[in-house]
């Protein structure tokens, strides 16, 4: 079922929201760089730039062809009389798009920025040891295969969005602005990359200790958080207009919810760390802030502000506690906290839709074309969200892990020992980020 076209004013508004999204990417890049070590700072920023470029080009080449848009050509499986729309059938290189203010064109622009966001997420987890060439290749896989397939299922009229229409499971899986499609996909890719890379040298000792390797620049991290906020306003508002049929005036509610979610999450993180460590921790509070933004994306158009505060508070708590749990108990060395912030925060955001969201007519899951407000129940919607979560964990994680593991056989992910000791800046780029100010003490000491 094709979506109704946007009015001209709404289309211009949607375009402006879309053009804010790169700020979120800038924010993520700064956060990743600040949480890494100074000897790899330039390499992380260079990796962000290269990942952005690779993601955009690959998505232009064939990513959108497999993601598609609602109501356009797709490949469908017929199972027990129901259509399971599993992948789009768009032409490659945007040849099927007119690139005007039509919905598919606006969605293609928005999706380029969204896939860039998703591809920046794993950089935080692979900091200080992930080779640039491998980053580019892994980004191509994420932007060309993993992301478009799942995004089609949710936003392209695929079977997840059709759960409501085909099987009366709520309104189908709802993910307004990418808590699942962008954040959890990126976070699970980050987990896969962390597993394949292994921990940084010296992170885990034989006697079970895990010394902290703190980030080198808290100012970059916190500046990144502030820049990410307007980016997320644009991300959430554009997603709501494109994929749930929200009118442009709903952007006020979306912006309020996004802001309150982030604020509640950051303060919760600060309170928890202040209680546990005696002083609030800046980097964990920043992680909490981003976790709140991530959790807000799924249901920002369908919850009241008080519920957004609750969602953000829980996101802040989950992210703060899971960072330490992943690092100390599960031996997942994740310098940027990407797995906790994006995967855990995103999964909570998706489930929160089932717990809190209400779907007033005419706002609905337009991706399914399902207007069944009368038959959709709260428990049905929660079940639809659980199916989406199960798909992320049971399909996306094995897919991204398998593809990256295969890639690792042809393009080694991990830098040599010497490179990790010198720092990625000197080893891979030949120049450091702070040539006048940084003095290393251990890279030339033989071990």
């Amino acid at each position: 079922m094709p979506m109704p076209a946007l009015a001209e004013t709404a289309a211009v508004g949607c375009l402006l929201f879309i053009l804010l999204i790169p700020l979120a990417a800038v924010g993520l890049a700064l956060i990743n760089t600040g949480l890494g070590r100074s000897r790899s700072a330039a390499h992380l920023m260079m990796s962000s730039l290269c990942a952005l470029a690779v993601a955009a080009l690959v998505y232009f080449g064939f990513g959108f062809a497999w993601q598609g848009f609602i109501g356009r050509g797709a490949h469908v499986l017929l199972l027990r009389g129901k259509e399971w729309n599993w992948i789009a059938a768009e032409p490659f290189f945007f040849r099927g798009l007119t690139l005007d203010t039509s919905l598919p064109s606006l969605a293609s622009l928005q999706q380029i920025f969204c896939v860039i966001l998703a591809c920046l997420i794993p950089l935080g987890s692979g900091a200080d040891r992930w080779r640039l060439r491998a980053i580019c290749c892994s980004t191509a896989i994420l932007a060309g295969i993993t992301y478009p397939v799942f995004a089609h299922w949710v936003w392209g009229g695929g079977w997840l969005a059709q759960l409501g229409a085909n099987y009366r499971v709520g309104y189908g899986f709802v993910d307004t602005a990418g808590s699942g499609v962008i954040q959890v996909v990126g976070g699970l890719s980050a987990l896969a990359v962390t597993w394949i890379l292994g921990p940084r040298r010296g992170k885990y000792s034989e006697d079970g200790m895990a010394p902290a390797i703190p980030g080198h620049n808290g100012v970059l991290v916190l500046l990144g958080c502030l820049l990410a906020l307007p980016g997320w306003f644009g991300l959430n508002a554009a997603g709501a207009m494109l994929f749930t049929g929200a009118e442009v005036g709903r952007a006020v509610l979306i912006a309020v919810n996004t802001l309150l979610c982030a604020c509640a999450a950051a303060l919760t993180a600060a309170v928890i760390t202040g209680y546990r460590f005696g002083k609030p921790d800046a980097s964990l509070s920043a992680n909490g802030w981003v976790g709140g933004l991530v959790a807000s994306s799924a249901g920002c158009a369908f919850v009241v502000p008080a519920e957004a505060v609750i969602i953000g508070s829980i996101a802040g708590g989950l992210v703060t506690l899971s960072v330490g749990w992943f690092e100390l108990n599960l031996e997942v060395d994740d310098p940027g906290g990407a797995v906790s912030v994006h995967a855990v925060g995103g999964l909570w955001g998706l489930l929160a839709v089932g717990l809190f969201a209400r779907f007033p007519s005419p706002v609905q899951n337009v991706a399914s074309g399902f207007p069944g407000a009368a038959s959709a129940t709260a428990s049905g919607q929660l079940l639809a969200q659980v199916v989406g979560v199960a798909t992320l964990l049971g399909f996306v994680l094995p897919l991204t892990y398998g593809l990256n593991l295969l890639l690792n056989r042809f393009c080694a992910f991990r830098v040599a020992v010497e490179g990790e000791r010198q720092g990625m800046d000197l080893y891979e780029l030949g120049a450091g980020a702070y040539p006048e100010f940084v003095t290393h003490t251990d890279e030339f000491i033989p071990h």
């Binding site: 099987y167 199960a390 798909t391 990790e420």
Partner: protein, 59 residues
């Protein structure tokens, strides 16, 4: 153990899909979907366990 863990993840997802396709009543469908999620949780726990046996740096 790594392969088994990811096979468990896939198996849990297939259980969820089967529940959607084959079970018409909401109660049974919901029960099997959560069962599939539990199988996935087991697979995830096994995957974490299989990757956490490495201590110290690789390379």
């Amino acid at each position: 153990m790594k392969i088994a863990s990811f096979l468990l993840l896939l198996a849990g997802w297939c259980l969820v899909l089967a529940a959607i396709m084959l079970l018409p009543t909401p109660g049974a469908r919901g029960g099997f979907i959560f069962s599939g999620l539990a199988v996935e949780a087991l697979g995830l726990a096994l995957a974490v366990r299989s990757h956490s046996t490495i201590r110290g740096a690789k390379g």
